[in-house]
């Protein structure tokens, strides 16, 4: 096992024997529920998204969660962000967590770029002062200075994503969660984002990355955790993990 065992400090993220089942509900109203109960049809089907996942992520590590669709990567990431809670087991984090999980979720089309920056930064847990301090950086990074007071609904999709990403990447965090975000924007912007993420990593921030771009991920992260059917099948060097996955 790399890294974590030789650090004395507490981990940034600890995932302990986490289980998560999704109940796929077949009924969506009280009437349907009663009817299904009367007819003795199953109300739900269980789906094991995570089946006893355990790992720890130490200070300053960059970890890739790997696996095919439905292996439980995104579910794990949502647990770490606090959006989902485990059915059993424990997920613990230390410090501020922010997710680049589908950025732009908090954007409102009728507000200007400026107003959206403040709103979205607050949603991601920043204070007014922190946002003001970073405002210029956020705008500069997004490269949309001239449109900052235009309503977001008039933005092109590229501009929108650039702004959303720019807000998220400038939040004050200890743990940054990244889900499939680097697939957005044109190539120069992607490179810029990647450079910014590397910079954060160099500053000692902890990264947890989910992506299907295996080459990028194996370069960005030194450690890879391979999930399969909701279980950890490999935890170690990211290049080995990718090789194992491709086999």
């Amino acid at each position: 096992m790399p890294k974590i065992s030789d650090t004395a400090v507490a981990p940034r993220v600890a995932v302990r024997d986490v289980h998560k089942d999704f109940k796929l509900r077949h009924t969506h109203s009280i009437k349907e529920t009663v009817l299904a109960a009367v007819r003795r049809r199953p109300l739900t089907t269980e789906f094991h998204a995570l089946d006893g996942v355990s790992f720890e992520i130490g200070e300053g590590e960059a970890v890739a969660l790997l696996g095919f669709n439905g292996s439980g990567k995104s579910t794990t990431l949502k647990m770490i962000s606090g959006v989902l809670r485990p059915d059993s087991g424990q997920v613990l984090t230390r410090g501020r967590v922010a997710g680049l999980i589908e950025v732009g979720a908090g954007f409102h089309p009728d507000l200007s770029g400026r107003e959206n920056i403040y709103l979205n930064a607050a949603i991601l847990g920043m204070t007014k002062k922190e946002t003001e301090e970073r405002f210029d950086d956020i705008v500069a990074f997004s490269e949309i200075e001239q449109f900052i007071d235009t309503e977001v609904k008039h933005y092109s999709s590229g501009m929108f994503l650039r702004l959303a990403f720019s807000v998220a990447i400038h939040t004050e965090v200890d743990i940054l969660l990244i889900d499939e975000i680097l697939s957005v924007g044109d190539e120069p912007f992607q490179k810029k984002c990647l450079a910014r993420i590397r910079e954060l990593h160099a500053k000692g921030k902890t990264l947890v990355v989910v992506s299907h771009d295996l080459d990028m991920v194996s370069h960005l992260c030194e450690r890879g955790i391979l999930l399969k059917g909701g279980k950890v099948v490999f935890d170690g060097d990211s290049k080995e993990a990718v090789a194992l996955m491709r086999r």
Binding site: S29, I80, G82, Q90, L92, I101, G106, E115, Y118
Partner: protein
Amino acid sequence: MSRVSPELSTLDEPGRSIGLLDVFRRRYLLSLIVRKEVQIRYRGSVLGWMWSYVKPLVQFAVFYVAIGVFLGMNGRVDYFPIYLLAGITVVTFFNEAFSNGTRSLVDNAALIKKIYLPREMFPVASMMIAAVNTLPQIVVVIVIALFFGWAPSLLQIGAILLGLLIVAMLATGLGLFFGAINVTFRDAQSFVEIIVMCAVWASPVMYQWEMVAQAVPEWLFTAYRLNPITIGVELFHYGIWFPLNPQDAFLIPDMWLFAGIAVVTSLVLLIIGQAVFRRLEGRFAQDL
């Protein structure tokens, strides 16, 4: 997992909130959400906030003609238009806060599924937005009352504030309760529409409480007074309509006792709403 880290106590469980208190700890975000909704409401309209004054005035004119003139309430109740408008203001506040609070979680599904924030934020914000929208109505009715010599005592001003407080707590509590249920069962939304439809008739807004007292048995009249909205409406009448010295106007019997009960009722419903909300909260992200 044999190795347990030494400083485990500094680790927190993500997504664990302390409920409503967390909302006020993040009041900066709350204020931004409220401001956003308020700004958006009249975006792209020429008259903008004027509409907030126009709407209650038109509503007032309609009720005045239909109920005051056609149904003859003007002759029966002194300053009936003011009586009417004061009551409608309370019920409108409740209805808007309650129904928007119920829908707030479903409306913000995109956010709830992706980013963790105290989810109580949304019903609470709905209530506060409704409160902001109610202010112009209160201004309108008070300005009209001033023309008729409105000079309230401190107690009467206090009654207005108490009425608002009761309705705000009630609407938040019920909004949390039905909002949480609405995530899984959209039936809650329709059920709430029915409650909202009845609310205006279940309180002395279009008529006076005496008419209820005469028509129903004593126990039912007690139940009628146990409705916190009824008390909210009567507190508003006491604050806005009473100072005009209308003829044959009486306080609803035991108003202050029932006001105390209404405070307790809304507080209890707020606590129940919060408890149910917390119980169901874990499933929000996957059920939405």
